[in-house]
Symmetry: C2
Subunit: 151 residues, 2 copies
């Protein structure tokens, strides 16, 4: 199992992270859940803008959070001991996540691509284009959730 964690840590998923920080498993789980949760709020804001009055600045701000989070090297938050609940921090990650680093990397790269594109499209203020790209970004979130997250 240790090898698999190292493989994930060394993958491009975690390329921005240099392992200088020593975190406990429960801290890694807490931080990654925080990242996904805060992205969910920002995705929700974009959705509300697309369904209601469109505010360009709010959509830009939300897309900036999503892109910055996608590029933050969250792969480092899937270290040893984070494959199960740790010290009261619950995780819904499936065991398969740690056994399929190539597939995880593929999904992570796809999500990053869509999130970065969403940031670019949001900056234009073109609501129709944002709607399309928002859909693609949501699909890339869902692809990982369906494969590696318990309901």
């Amino acid at each position: 199992m240790k090898k698999i964690f190292i493989a994930i840590a060394l993958s491009s998923l975690a390329s921005a992270v240099c392992a200088q920080q020593t975190l406990k498993p429960e801290e890694m789980i807490k931080f990654r859940k925080a990242g996904y949760s805060f992205m969910a709020w920002n995705m929700g804001k974009i959705k509300a803008n697309l369904e209601g009055t469109y505010n360009k600045e709010q959509v830009i701000a939300a897309a900036n959070v999503i892109a910055a989070t996608a590029n933050s090297g969250m792969g480092a938050l899937y270290g040893a001991g984070t494959d199960k609940d740790a010290a009261g921090q619950k995780t819904r990650v499936k065991a398969a996540f740690f056994k399929e680093p190539d597939k995880v990397k593929e999904l992570a790269v796809a999500f990053n691509k869509e999130a970065n594109e969403l940031q670019k499209v949001a900056a234009t203020g073109d609501a129709a284009a944002v709607k399309t790209q928002f859909g693609k970004t949501g699909e890339s979130c869902k692809a990982c959730h369906e494969k590696y997250r318990e309901d």
Copy 2:
């Protein structure tokens, strides 16, 4: 009390948020805690870079998260019913936070300024300048924590 919440919602703290999203108090608390928690991870990464080997790209990525979060309109997450624990979501916010909107706004604006400056300085790759600005940013976090967050 309602008037105070409205005052906060209308302040520039929440200027980027257009209240199209309807969130329950426990959702607002969850999302705001997620935002602060994810920022803490990213502040920790910058600290580790300043104390260990400096990786410009990692610091840029972390500073981008902090700035994007600061600019995301988190004031909207302090709506009615979020001044105390809600449906299992604990909050450490002090009652004074909701009684002093002008002071809260002042601290929020100060934090945003430092976070945006940190993002700019990180982009230069000048570790010494980042160290100085990281200190200022941390102080602006602390100023609010000391006044409005329970230990």
